[in-house]
């Protein structure tokens, strides 16, 4: 039963992965072929089709690196380097992760705080919501360098400016989700509290907060991914010395396409890991709150 469920979940995922890898290989051959043909013509090399395909998949600076090149790069820079090394993906991931987590923590706290205010204070409900939505229409790429530069001018550098960008991106889904969550209790549940003459805070802690938990974890999943994007974006335009963003930037400067793709993979894995952890946290809370196992 359990095995059946596992395989029924994994098989479709693996199928899609296989299809993506196949397309990726074809794209790599197709995109790298012109350069390889050029190279062969100049060097007066003639090769069989198989040899030619092999060469398109092993260029040092390909237009599209082949999957195995990227995997090899990720493997080497993750496991074969010292974690303190500037080439280690673990090192760069950690730099990005630390500001992601700080920003995510701030953002979640801020989002919850704003939601609590909006739900309880009518004036905030009317005044704050439009601004919150407007805040997310401003392109983050425009704001990030300004924040970093302004803060650098007052001698705040390093983790905090990056974390602030993450906060800026992550508070939004939490605020919106929690407003919905804190308003999710049925009228009958609120009436019940009223018949007990419960105070606003009792209603909040005993009804609104527990009722909003599923909303909190759903929006935290979105927020943690947004935090990571914020941290990477904050590293891009500011010449940060380390982090996945700086790795992407350096890769594009020196046409180190394989490095760029490896950094991209590292970022994706990080995001998947973070979302999974939040998901597990949500399930633990669910279980403690007696949610029926499905």
């Amino acid at each position: 039963m359990r095995n059946e469920r596992l395989s029924s979940r994994i098989v479709p995922v693996l199928t899609i992965v296989a299809i993506i890898i196949a397309i990726w290989y074809l794209a790599a051959i197709w995109m790298n072929a012109p350069f390889q043909r050029d190279l062969d013509r100049r060097g007066n090399v003639t090769s069989t089709t198989m040899e030619f395909v092999g060469k398109t998949l092993s260029q040092p600076k390909p237009v599209v690196p082949a999957p195995h090149q990227v995997v090899q790069n990720v493997f080497e820079n993750t496991f074969l380097r010292k974690v303190t090394s500037n080439r280690s993906l673990v090192y760069h991931s950690w730099v990005t992760l630390s500001s992601t987590l700080a920003g995510f923590a701030f953002g979640t706290a801020l989002g919850v705080l704003i939601a609590v205010g909006i739900v309880h204070v009518k004036a905030l409900d009317r005044s704050l919501m439009p601004w919150i939505i407007a805040s997310q229409t401003v392109p983050i790429l425009a704001i990030a360098p300004m924040v970093v530069v302004v803060l650098a001018a007052v001698n705040v550098t390093g983790l905090i400016p990056k974390a602030l960008i993450s906060t800026y991106l992550s508070f939004f889904p939490v605020a919106v989700g929690m407003v919905k969550g804190l308003r999710s209790p049925d009228l009958i549940h609120l009436d019940l509290m009223r018949t007990y003459n419960a105070s606003t805070w009792q209603t909040f802690w005993k009804l609104r907060m527990p009722a909003s938990m599923p909303f909190l974890f759903t929006s935290m999943k979105v927020a943690v991914a947004a935090s990571l994007v914020g941290a990477i974006v904050a590293e891009l335009p500011t010449g940060a010395a380390a982090g996945i963003g700086s790795k992407l930037l350096a890769g594009s400067y020196y046409s180190q396409t394989i490095d760029m793709w490896a950094a991209l993979i590292a970022g994706s894995l990080l995001a998947a890991m973070l979302v999974t952890i939040v998901g597990i946290g949500g399930r633990v809370v669910d279980r403690r709150m007696g949610v029926q196992a499905t």
Binding site: L192, R194, K206
Partner: protein, 284 residues
């Protein structure tokens, strides 16, 4: 069996009707005089209640029966201060409904069990006790006692979804009984349950009423339920919601389920049905 319940004053009043006088008895738990409630809607005012005069005395079991829209639930909600009357006067335990609510004078049982899904049954029953800041030991003891009272001992650590609908509703009754309110307001608590479960719960409720000596106001759609349970039946009619008949039950307080086959029972049920019909013809 409480024997201090002797007389109730429950009277109807129509605008064009009979002369009436109010005898505000000191034992009266709920006392309404020319009570009216009008909702302002986009389609104009809706008269949910109009000129309702009513006395509920201590220890009464009063049923409110009538078709949808007759204001029976609204009347209960006015007693509970979940709605405000727009006309007339009402007192609960000699106070305004708001004061009574703040004094935690009543327990309210809704149409749905309204249990919090993230709390176990015993924690659901403990909810009002937590809010009213009873001590931990007192909470535990009261939860135990009220769960015993509704025959749910042993189910305390289950979650609501693990219980049947009837058991959930019993848990919600236990929750309303957990603190010291002498008045129990019940809004069609068994409406969503099947006939067999309902019969069983009705019998249990009567027993509970006898042991706890509470005053109960009970809203229902069902004529047999109203007749079986009540010392007094208030028949209401819609648009505007008003009282058309008040029937003092002549049934003994001890009521086995088969009392429903007796001529006396059927006579009262007949009078309720007549009252409901009269309310309808008035409308057309």
């Amino acid at each position: 069996m409480p024997d201090h319940i002797t007389r109730t004053n429950l009277r109807t009043h129509r605008t064009h009707g009979w002369p009436h006088r109010m005898t505000a008895s000191p034992a009266s738990v709920v006392s309404a005089r020319k009570l009216g409630l009008t909702f302002q809607t986009n389609d104009g005012p809706v008269h949910a209640l109009s000129d309702v005069d009513l006395e509920v005395e201590k220890g009464d079991f009063v049923s409110f029966i009538g078709p949808s829209g007759c204001g029976k639930t609204t009347f209960l909600r006015v007693i509970a201060d979940l709605e405000k009357n727009t006309g007339g006067e009402i007192s609960v335990n000699g106070m305004t409904p708001e004061e009574a609510r703040k004094a935690r004078a009543y327990g309210y049982v809704f149409q749905a069990p309204a249990l919090y899904p993230w709390r176990t049954i015993e924690n659901n029953v403990a909810l009002p006790l937590e809010i009213m800041e009873y001590s931990k030991a007192e909470q535990k003891q009261r939860v135990q006692r009220t769960l015993d009272l509704v025959n749910l001992a042993g189910f305390g650590n289950k979650y609501p979804w693990q219980l049947s609908g009837g058991m959930q509703q019993r848990a919600s009754i236990a929750r309303a009984l957990a603190f010291d309110a002498d008045l129990l307001l019940m809004d069609e608590p068994f409406g969503a349950l099947d006939e067999i479960v309902r019969d069983h719960l009705n019998a249990q409720l009567l027993k509970l009423w006898a042991t706890t000596e509470k005053t109960i106001c009970f809203v229902t759609h069902s004529i047999p339920e109203a007749v079986y349970l009540s010392t007094k039946i208030v028949v209401m009619s819609p648009r505007p919601g008003r009282v058309t008949d008040v029937i003092e039950s002549t049934l003994p307080r001890e009521r086995p389920l088969d009392i429903r086959e007796t001529p006396e029972f059927l006579a009262i049920a007949h009078r309720v049905r007549e009252g409901l019909r009269a309310g309808h013809s008035y409308e057309e």
